[in-house]
């Protein structure tokens, strides 16, 4: 029973948050920050798989997020919204509950496939050279979307809010919040299961000694493929949720700046620490909002804070430890097997 | 004989762990002294402390003193130890600059020398004479040298820094017997021409055959010392370090 305490606590937390949103105990602003927090957690923990566990330096995560955001947006708009190019909704609003998750899955799948652009070169290309490939991939995605008139090009793409309305027309509760929270939990759960399995431990093995990994029976190409595709797929999930939260996507929202932000979260949290990435994502989002009053100086203060933090903790907040390593008592309350 | 190097009650920490718990030893001019002991006994740590290598590699000296020709080294930056004093260290694993040619490696070692072109040139001659193989491979990227040649280069490099006191960290590691014996013979030759040597070696048998005196280090403490003959004859040492 004790093992399930953590699981129950998480779901209780989700229900509590949803209730807060439903009865306006927390106002829209907090809910919105909360949702971006969730998206950031997904982004940071998924990038951590590649940048932390695998030790590569991927700086094009924004590109994969972009693919996911667009593909799932297009799917939802196709299904539930009237669009001047894509036409009338294909499905009645009752299907939104199935359609929306399916659209998210489609987005993730598409960005997984986009991840191949990086995964395949990674067989041969490593380190900073691979970093450039990821960077190039990011530019390519954005440039491609800028050139796609049908989905708005630089104008951006909208109409996703129809899905939320469709869902709310059936039952009026904060659906997007629920999906974001579930998506976040799902991501952390999935990654946790992956990295704690012997299969998944092949990834840090590649990081720590690729040659040894290769010779000691780890199929490095397969592991890289899995790591990159999983990471970019989850980024796509984050993208899909982000698009839904915002109701509007624009290719410029996914440029290098976005990738940089995610990278900062990963290294702030500590390479190869899942809980570190999640904590850093939360901390970062909160900092971003809490320091709003600084106006122009905000973007001087935040980097300075991060530089200072690096000086005091050069391995990030958590290093490569997990929460359960620091507070071993926690272990009683959940199980991974 | 003058005392060249004197280590007094040296205590050293790596992070939170104390690696040396107060060791004392000395090396006199013209001697070959060896430190032997198990892995992790603190032999390399001792050498790194003497060379004052900068963080993060270097251990932190918490107590004690290191004197070279009566002068304390504790407040000296590492490059000064080499450039101002005539000390040199051939580190474990050789650490040659693989992306430079053999010639460049040697040239780099003369970076801080101020004693004129003439003297430097003489040292080049000496190195190439000691190791004709290096002369043949002057223009080669040193990465492509075999393990033995790399060891020669590392030694040659130390000579080029104009050293009178040479510290060697496991010079025989990974060397074929032929080369290993050759190298020890070369070192002996250098010693006879005035070079003082402090040697760290896993192969205690070999080290004691080579050295005049030895110290036995165990988990950060010196547990035995004496002339090589004494140590070779010591039953305890024999049992623990020389193998059956």
């Amino acid at each position: 029973m004790q093992k399930h305490v953590a699981t129950i606590a998480i779901f209780a937390g989700i229900i509590l948050l949803v209730l807060c949103a439903q009865f306006h105990i927390l106002d829209q602003y907090y809910i919105s920050v909360l949702m971006f927090m969730g998206v950031n957690v997904i982004l940071a923990s998924s990038l951590n798989l590649v940048n932390g566990y695998m030790g590569e330096f991927s700086c094009g995560h924004g590109g994969f997020m972009c693919v996911g955001a667009y593909v799932s947006s297009i799917c939802t708009v196709l299904m539930f919204s009237k669009n001047h190019i894509l036409g009338a909704p294909l499905l009645p609003p009752q299907f939104a509950f199935i359609g929306f998750p399916l659209a998210l899955v489609a987005g993730s799948a598409a960005s997984s496939v986009a991840g191949l652009v990086v995964a395949i070169p990674s067989f041969k290309t490593r380190g900073d050279y691979l970093a450039i490939i990821t960077l190039a991939a990011n530019y390519i995605v954005i440039s491609a979307i800028n050139n796609m008139e049908i989905i708005g090009g630089p104008r951006g793409f909208m109409g996703m809010s129809a899905t939320e309305r469709a869902m709310q027309s059936m039952l009026d509760i904060p659906w997007v919040l629920i999906f974001v929270l579930l998506g976040t939990v799902f991501t952390v759960w999935l990654l946790r299961r992956f990295v704690s399995s012997t299969l998944g431990k092949g990834v840090p093995a590649i990081c720590q000694d690729e040659i040894a990994a290769e010779i000691m029976s780890v199929d490095t190409n397969r592991m890289k493929l899995i790591a990159f595709m999983l990471s970019s797929g989850l980024a796509g999930l984050a993208g899909g949720l982000y698009a839904q939260v915002l109701g509007y996507v624009n290719p410029q929202s996914f440029d290098i700046m976005r990738s940089t932000e995610v990278m900062v979260m990963v290294y702030l949290g500590g390479m190869g620490s899942l809980s570190g990435a999640a904590i850093a994502a939360i901390l970062y989002t909160v900092l971003m909002e809490a320091l709003r009053f600084l106006d122009v100086w905000k973007w001087v203060v935040i980097p300075l804070l991060l530089i200072l933090l690096m000086q005091f903790r050069p391995e990030g907040i958590m290093g490569n430890k997990e929460l359960s390593d620091l507070f071993p008592k926690l272990r009683k309350y959940y199980s991974f097997k | 004989m003058n005392t060249l190097l004197e280590v007094k009650n040296l205590k050293v920490r790596y992070g939170n762990i104390e690696a040396l718990h107060g060791i004392s030893f000395d090396v006199k001019e013209g001697e070959i002294v060896t430190l032997i002991g198990a892995n992790g006994a603190g032999k390399s740590t001792t050498l790194m402390s003497i060379c004052r290598l900068p963080p993060p590699e270097a251990p932190r000296v918490t107590e004690g003193d290191i004197l070279y020709k009566g002068q304390s080294l504790l407040n000296m930056p590492p490059h000064k130890v080499v450039s101002d004093l005539d000390m040199a260290l051939v580190p474990e694993g050789r650490r040659i600059f693989g992306n430079l040619t053999v010639e460049e490696n040697l040239k780099l070692a003369t970076y801080a020398r101020t004693d004129g072109h003439e003297a430097i040139h003489r040292d080049y001659e000496r190195v190439y004479q000691l190791f004709p193989r290096l002369a043949e491979r002057k223009k080669q990227r040193s990465e492509s040298l075999s393990g033995g040649e790399q060891q020669m280069l590392a030694l040659g490099r130390a000579i080029m820094t104009k050293c009178g006191f040479l510290m060697l960290d496991e010079p025989s590691m990974g060397l074929a017997p032929l080369l290993m014996y050759d190298m020890f013979r070369t070192l002996r030759e250098l010693n006879q021409s005035g070079l003082t040597i402090l040697l760290i070696e896993q192969n205690a048998n070999l080290a004691l055959r080579f050295a005049h005196r030895g110290y036995v280090l165990d988990t950060g403490e010196i547990v035995a010392h004496g002339t090589s003959e004494e140590l070779l004859a010591d039953p305890e040492v024999k049992k623990a370090y020389l193998g059956g």
């Binding site: 829209q28 602003y29 919105s32 104008r155 809010s161 915002l246 509007y248 929202s253 | -």
Partner: protein, 394 residues
Amino acid sequence: MKRMTVKILFAVLALSLGAFALIGCGKDSDTIKVGFNLELTGDIPKVGEASKFAAEMLKEDINSKGGLEVGGKKYKLEFIYQDNEAKAESAVNAALKLINQDGVVAIVGPNSSKQAIPAGATCNDNQVVMVTPWSTNPDTTKDRPWVFRACFLDPFQGPVAVNFAAKQFGAKTAAVIFDIANDYSKGLAEIFKTEWEKKSGAGTVVGFESHGTKDQDFSAQLTKIIAAKPDFIFIPDDYNQVALIVKQAHDLGYKGPFMGSDAWGSAELMTLCGKDCIGQFFSTHYAAAGAQGATKEFIDRFNAKYKYVPDDVAALTWDATRLVLQAIQGAGKVDKDIKTERKLVRDALANIKEFAGITGNMKFAGTGDPQKCAVVVQISPEGKFEFKESVCPE
């Protein structure tokens, strides 16, 4: 030791979360709060800065006279500025913060469509009036009864440029260079192209080249354009890029005229562009040089206060804010309940049929988009933007 650091970090984290939750303001019934959602950092900080300056000036104006009179009582104005970093999600958060935390009556901004479209959706959903000074994308206000704007739309400006250029230069062929990553620039470029080809025949836009937002070198695009020998080059680009483009075109031997759009209309254009821009034309919201009445007064005061001639964003922000204030006054009273008050303001704003702004008269036909005249100005040898022609919608 390390463990300690981690625990301290956690404490800091918890504290900051707590502090964050406590941020919020007390409410004062004698003030009226208007929110500004501006691009103070990010790609276009100058735009946000100009907006902020104009708003500050207006606020001081009114507050120095004792405040805004609504229903016989004077209320002090409080303007709250939130930086949206020129990012879409930040604009949404800024809007939500203004709405929920700061409890503003209405929001002015964001200026750029990338932020204005999602922020518009947010404001519409939360039933708060939003007036964007500068976003010319039709989507910003489309199907959003709570969202208004103070500027004309791209589909109107395009033909203005086309007709003027055809007449003024006697041009048969045109070339366009635009910013592909800037929806304003790209949209206008495309409208211009369609209109020009409608007028002068297919294929008469002999060069249609793009560049990226932060590019500084346009030589390849210009080489291509110049080789096609257009009669003039249309540049619907931000003024800083205009300065570079015009200069580089001259370096490459181009001697023909240029035609620009409202994004040229910055005081900085002439500092940046210098001699190269003299004599060129562009369409804009208002002509600073030779302006009359309220417009001139605004320009002079702004210039005195901030040491530069206000650009169109400043002027439009002024108008947008005044629109909001007029609507607040038009509501007739300040309701205690913020939601009712916002509704009142929206209804009052929707009731404004005509508004005399410093950027020209605006007519609203219930869509939230004003119908207003565009002017074409020429850059005089002294670097002033001189009125050349006014084009009004039929």
